[in-house]
């Protein structure tokens, strides 16, 4: 799948994560909407990747396994259905 990303250098695409990209649709969704969902989801799920995927799975907690399945379900939906809509 071809997205509108052309610069593959560095840790993040410069087309999305700069101050000048912030007011654009793709910048707004990547930075503000994405950040908001990370914060809301972490609080609701009671943990993030390190809390659930690493510490929780290492402690064999069922709730962490459910959360990690959720992480990947959400990630796959966003990657394959949401990103192509605005990139």
């Amino acid at each position: 799948m071809k997205l509108g990303i052309h610069d593959f250098s560095g840790l993040v695409p410069r087309e999305l994560f700069t101050w000048s990209a912030l007011p654009t649709l793709k910048g707004f969704v990547s930075i503000i909407v994405g950040g908001f969902l990370v914060g809301f989801g972490t609080a609701y799920a009671g943990g993030c990747t390190s809390g659930h995927a690493i510490s929780g799975l290492a402690d064999l907690q069922l709730s962490s396994l459910i959360a990690v399945v959720g992480f990947f379900a959400g990630g796959l939906i966003a990657t394959h259905f949401l990103l192509p809509l605005f990139l």
Binding site: I32, G46, T49, I54, S63, A67, T79
Partner: protein
């Protein structure tokens, strides 16, 4: 007199421990930030490769982190290791409930993870890695946790 001499060292000890503790947090945090950056876990591209199943890299990193954490947890429990401030290290079990908060909250987190290409730790590491606009994502994430706090009584858990 004798009472003073017995209480004095423990107060000093406590102060020394909290001094070490104050140093340990930033040192471990700096170490975590370096690991996140050097392993490229903070990279939007690596996260995309993971969700597109184009590279085993992220899966290998997560698997090795879980293996090391599991061994650490087992060691800590066996030896009864204490924290720097002398408290026992315990990982409180999460209350499962009906599991809705983990499934729904986890899915919402996952949507954000793929959109920003970063989870909470990397959001902060990326600011130091030269992506200052991530400060806006951090503020937005804080707004998300705030909204959760407001909606919490109405949400299924």
């Amino acid at each position: 007199m004798s009472n003073e001499s017995t209480t004095e060292p423990t107060t000093q000890q406590r102060q020394r421990q909290s001094g070490i503790g104050l140093l340990a947090y930033p040192l471990l945090g700096v170490g975590f930030g370096i690991v996140l950056t050097k392993s490229e876990v903070v990279s939007w591209f690596r996260i995309q490769e993971m969700f597109r199943f184009q590279s085993p890299r992220m899966y290998e990193i997560i698997a090795s982190a879980v293996a090391v954490a599991a061994a650490s947890v087992a060691f800590i429990k066996k030896v009864g290791l204490k924290t720097i401030s002398g408290e026992p290290i315990t990982i409180p079990p999460k209350t499962l409930g009906n599991g809705v908060r983990y499934a729904v909250g986890g899915t919402i987190f996952g949507l954000g993870w793929a959109l920003t290409g970063a989870c909470p730790g990397p959001l902060f590491a990326l600011v130091g890695d030269g992506v200052p606009v991530m400060i806006v994502a951090i503020v937005s994430a804080l707004a998300g946790t705030w909204l959760y706090g407001v909606l919490r009584p109405k949400l299924p858990h």
